[in-house]
Symmetry: C2
Subunit: 335 residues, 2 copies
């Protein structure tokens, strides 16, 4: 492994000069610069980024901490983040927490220990109290979830509003007994529940506790809970799900119960996935602008890395209601 020292010797200059040519825009005589470049080329020199990072106390790596990369929402976010990072010359450390606060802590510590430039994080509710107290000195951007009492950059969907619109859509299409499945680990589920409840209230529809469930945001959990909800004496005529994994489990449950959508029951949810348009009928959803969320989070992070004292921002993006067959109005059902 050729080092900066050998390049310096080859070019007949000091290591400082090589370093200047390579990383700073310091004034170096063109002739020397040329000699250095040639030596670099000849020896196929590549700077050791570990040494550079140790010395300069900076790094070109950012951390991305999400609950599960297999959740299509996070898959998409990750891709967008990696893309932005690549363009800025950064690379991405991927961390899955499985919504486990212990894993979250371990990964946050790792971020500190490896001296990353910054972190994009989608935290559970449990970790939040710690978040303020733990001494995390690196730049951080929160995505998808909100951290109420901490002054930190955040990129969020307008969850209350989106859930409100989704629920209102069901109501105006004639559905009244709207079962709802929310993720229990994040603030997102809570906010979406608020939107759901506000919509019901606004339309004078009573809340039915049996219709509201909180669960781990996983396919299997959702399948179970949805199945049991479908077996209620007075079963729902519509199901609202608060993320795509939950929606997947719910759809499996509907299929297992041989229920027709939307004739027997409507199904709506959040997030565009490869299959929302492929199943029949297609599923009505709130599409989150995942690319933009990821890109915005990365942008915020790079800005904070550049200017650590910058005032924090909370960016709230709008979801888009995509009306499809799975929530067709009751009076059209016979058609």
């Amino acid at each position: 492994m050729v080092s900066i020292k050998e390049v310096a010797e080859e070019a007949g200059v000091s290591t400082a000069t090589v370093s200047r040519v390579l990383s700073s825009s310091d004034h170096v005589r063109p002739e020397l610069r040329q000699r250095v470049m040639e030596a670099v080329e000849k020896l196929q020199y590549r700077p050791n980024l570990v040494a550079r990072s140790l010395r300069s106390q900076q790094s070109n790596t950012i951390g991305l901490i999400v609950s599960d990369i297999r959740n299509p929402f996070f898959t998409s976010i990750s891709r967008a983040v990696e893309d932005s990072a690549y363009k800025q010359g950064f690379s991405v450390l991927l961390c899955n927490t499985d919504e486990d606060p212990e894993k979250e802590k371990i990964y946050l510590q790792l971020m500190r220990d490896t001296n990353v430039a910054g972190v994009i994080f989608s935290p559970t509710r449990q970790i939040m109290s710690d978040l303020a107290s733990l001494p995390f000195d690196f730049p951080m951007v929160i995505v998808d979830r909100s951290v109420p009492d901490v002054d930190v950059d955040t990129v969020l969907l307008d969850n209350v509003e989106s859930a409100y619109r989704l629920t209102s859509h069901l109501i105006s299409n004639g559905f009244r007994r709207i079962g709802a499945l929310f993720g229990e680990t994040s603030t997102t589920g809570i906010q979406r529940q608020r939107g759901y409840e506000e919509a019901l209230k606004a339309h004078g529809i009573p809340l039915v506790p049996e219709y509201i469930k909180h669960l781990q945001p996983r396919v299997e959990a959702s399948y179970k809970i949805a199945t049991s909800m479908l077996q209620l004496p007075h079963a729902p005529d519509a199901l609202l799900t608060s993320n795509s994994l939950i929606m997947e489990g719910a759809l499996q449950a509907l299929r297992a119960c041989n229920l027709s959508i939307p004739e027997d029951i409507a199904l709506v949810g959040f997030d565009e996935t490869p299959w929302t348009l492929l199943v029949q009928p297609a599923i009505t959803i709130i599409a989150q602008p995942t690319d933009e969320i990821g890109k915005t989070a990365a942008d915020l992070l790079f800005q904070r890395i550049a200017i650590p004292t910058r005032p924090t921002r909370q960016i709230i993006l709008k979801g888009q209601l995509m009306v499809r067959g799975s929530s067709t109005p009751l009076h059209l059902k016979a058609m």
Copy 2:
């Protein structure tokens, strides 16, 4: 940021002793060990991994280089790799190449520059010739694709055999005009094509060049190519797709053409995705054991990191044919 020096002072020992207590199993007097641990605890000391990596010339990071994390196959692989890495105390640098050889090179260089412990890589065909010549000294495991002339650990599906079985399944169900869409960037597509062609030959069915297409493994490309194939004068009565993105585009095309599956045309492919069981009819596929592939790749890598001279291995895993409604026999179609 508290350093080893401060811990040493606090404990009244040298930095060497602190280092020994923390990272090596060297013999340290229990009493000193105790004092060091207390100092570590008191000062909340955490070793700086960058410095450690620079000095020891090792690291606890592995690279994962895939074409696109949004491909459900790679999503699942990534999750499995990250899981295994976490258990071994490693973290994962995620890199998307978009099947672009230039990006592959850049990322491979990054791996070298950051001194990663090793890399799990799914290369394009183009990069392979370079792979032998480029001086990549780090441990590497190839997944999903094969690199014929390089002595490197590999984890693969039995692609020829799997495609053979999938094609034979279609044939024995009465389909004869089997269109096939293969990814053009990987060896995987080529091998699956071989299995497809061998199955046709074995059953005395002539190859029709118009029925065989190579394309970028992307949804949009697949949609276009599939659509044009469906408009052939003598259109296929079945479509075989060589990965889930291609399958997705093909299914979109079938839907756009208002074709019924399997009455008008059968559809089969590779990879279990969230939707293969949710669409109706469910799709017949070869399921790859993605968890096992990822886990095996990580295991191989850690073994090679531990013993660099270990003889290389090629591990070939079997796919599982999941027969579903999308390839129901012709004589049952009327039912």
